[in-house]
């Protein structure tokens, strides 16, 4: 008798393990690293974030001198959030970043 048979029959009457994603959502843990959001009020335009970003995803806006992140390059490592002296960046829980125009995928 195959040992998997009880599993198969049990599964028939069990709730499927599938999470029906867009309708159902799992709770995300506290330290989840999603899209970094920027609190521009706190920023002192020191430019450290530009230096520490491994992907060169962060640039300073030419006029306002505030950082912005191109999500096309960002890999959500959380380095900017960690090293910013004023804690301007926070890693949000947002992870659905698909877009029609990759150049507009910015976090500002």
């Amino acid at each position: 008798m195959p040992r998997i048979l009880p599993d198969v029959l049990k599964n028939l009457f069990r709730k499927p393990a599938t999470v029906k994603y867009p309708k159902q959502r799992r709770a995300l843990p506290e330290n989840f690293r999603g899209k970094p959001v920027i609190d521009k009020e706190k920023c002192i335009s020191c430019g450290l974030c530009v230096k520490v970003c491994p992907d060169n995803a962060i640039t300073l806006d030419e006029k306002t001198k505030k950082p912005r992140i191109w999500m096309g390059l960002c890999m959500m490592c959380g380095r900017c959030a960690e090293l910013c002296p004023r804690k301007v960046f926070t890693m949000s829980k947002e992870f659905e970043l698909a877009t029609y125009n990759k150049y507009e995928a910015m976090s500002e």
Binding site: P2, R3, I4, D7, V8, A17, L28, P29, N31, F32, R33, V52, P54, D55, N56, T59, E62, W70, G72, M75, M76, C77, G78, R79, M91, Y103
Partner: protein, 383 residues
């Protein structure tokens, strides 16, 4: 008379591109030739163009599945180049990170192997339970795959006390189901028929061809970097090295599944033994001229980073020897003498990771162009 069957670069049995030229005589395989290089990313050169801090993230991107152990090996090499000791608590966090990765990687492999022999139910069940280990990585380190628990001179995040009960619960659940799967795999007659005696790698071949990891251990080579060259906190945690003697695909299945149990045990011990304290020491900007080798036991076997520094903040040369790369020569003796139907499972049995293998060259003239385009993209962005 022999004729040649080309398999790949695109083939349903291969998750990623590689090209095999398989010489067959009727159904029997008499020769194998391999062509790699469809996935070049140029990471060795890329690492020497980046500072150590940024290189850590690139080294994790050598391979998606075994990213933690890659960054761990890189960190180990860089830390010994710079002469830095990381704090005790961080060493235990690194062990937990690496072992969670081993669990998810081995379950992933088991699922793929079940799929290659047409056992879809087992494939689905393995992958269902793999989610548990991914959830744990997310809980402790913030992301499911790129957990990056390692940091130069320590660990990136601390493990919170309140997460530990959930981790233990999940590990218990995982242990129960993995034990059940071992039962299933060692008793199911169709699995035994497909795996037992197939793709045998003899102990002599395994040693001569320098096979590593579960591939070597399934052939009776007692070789595990975690024990032979302990890193992180492995020197303080007792564990068994799983060795099987048969060398066939079935032995590889058994080795990997039993290693999962061993990993679960290691994580439990690491949680118990984890001291309190700081998780990081400061890593210097510039690293004195030196050379060092950092080795870790990746899920697929021995992983080696050689780092040569030159006094600046960038390494002069980084050499990566990934486990899949070391195991490719072993595929030949495993395939020769088998039949065509065995190709998928035998190739899968070394757990080939193509992104691990193909990581060496730098950008050629064509991609050089696309690099300029990236700059244009950046320029466009900055407007």
């Amino acid at each position: 008379m022999t004729f040649i069957i080309p398999i790949g670069p695109q083939h349903p049995a291969l998750e990623e591109p590689a090209h095999f030229r398989i010489e067959v005589k009727g159904e029997e395989i008499v020769g194998v030739d391999l062509r790699l290089g469809y996935n070049h990313k140029g990471i060795e050169q890329g690492l020497s163009d980046r500072s150590y801090a940024h290189g850590l993230y690139l080294s994790a991107r050598v391979c998606g599945i075994c990213n933690s152990t890659h960054s761990l090996a890189f960190t180990r090499a860089v830390e010994s180049v710079a002469g830095i000791e990381c704090p005790d608590r961080a060493r235990y966090i690194r062990v937990i990170d690496a072992e969670l990765e081993r669990i998810h990687s081995h379950l992933l492999w088991a699922g793929v192997a079940a799929h290659e022999i047409g056992f879809t139910t087992l494939f689905m069940l393995f992958w269902r339970d793999r989610e548990l280990s991914l959830d744990m990585r997310e809980l402790l380190f913030g992301q499911r795959i790129y957990a990056s628990g390692t940091y130069l001179g320590g660990a990136r995040v601390d493990i919170k006390e309140k997460d530990i009960p959930q981790l233990i619960r999940t590990l218990n659940k995982l242990e129960k189901s993995v034990k059940h799967y071992i039962d299933v795999c060692t008793s199911d007659r169709t699995i035994i028929a497909r795996c037992s005696g197939v793709g045998v790698l003899k102990k002599k071949d395994a040693r001569e061809l320098c096979a590593v990891g579960p591939t070597a251990r399934a052939s009776g080579v007692d070789f595990d970097i975690r024990r032979d060259d302990p890193y992180a906190a492995y020197g303080e945690i007792p564990f068994d090295v799983i060795v099987e003697q048969d060398g066939d695909v079935f032995a590889k299945v058994v080795v990997r599944l039993r290693e999962i149990l061993e990993s679960i045990d290691i994580i439990r011990q690491a949680i118990d033994a984890m001291p309190k304290g700081a998780i990081r020491t400061k890593f210097p900007e510039n690293v004195p001229e030196n050379e060092a080798v950092g080795r870790t036991e990746a899920p697929r076997g021995e992983l080696m980073y050689y780092v040569r520094s030159n006094g600046t903040n960038k390494p002069e040369r980084v050499r990566i020897r990934t486990p899949s790369y070391a195991n490719w020569p072993s595929v030949r003796p495993m395939l020769v003498g088998g039949t065509i139907a065995d190709i998928p499972i035998v190739v899968a049995s070394i757990d080939p990771c193509f992104s691990c293998t193909d990581r060496v060259t730098i950008i050629d003239t064509k991609t050089g162009k696309s690099r300029i385009m990236t700059k244009e993209e950046l320029r466009r962005l900055r407007k």
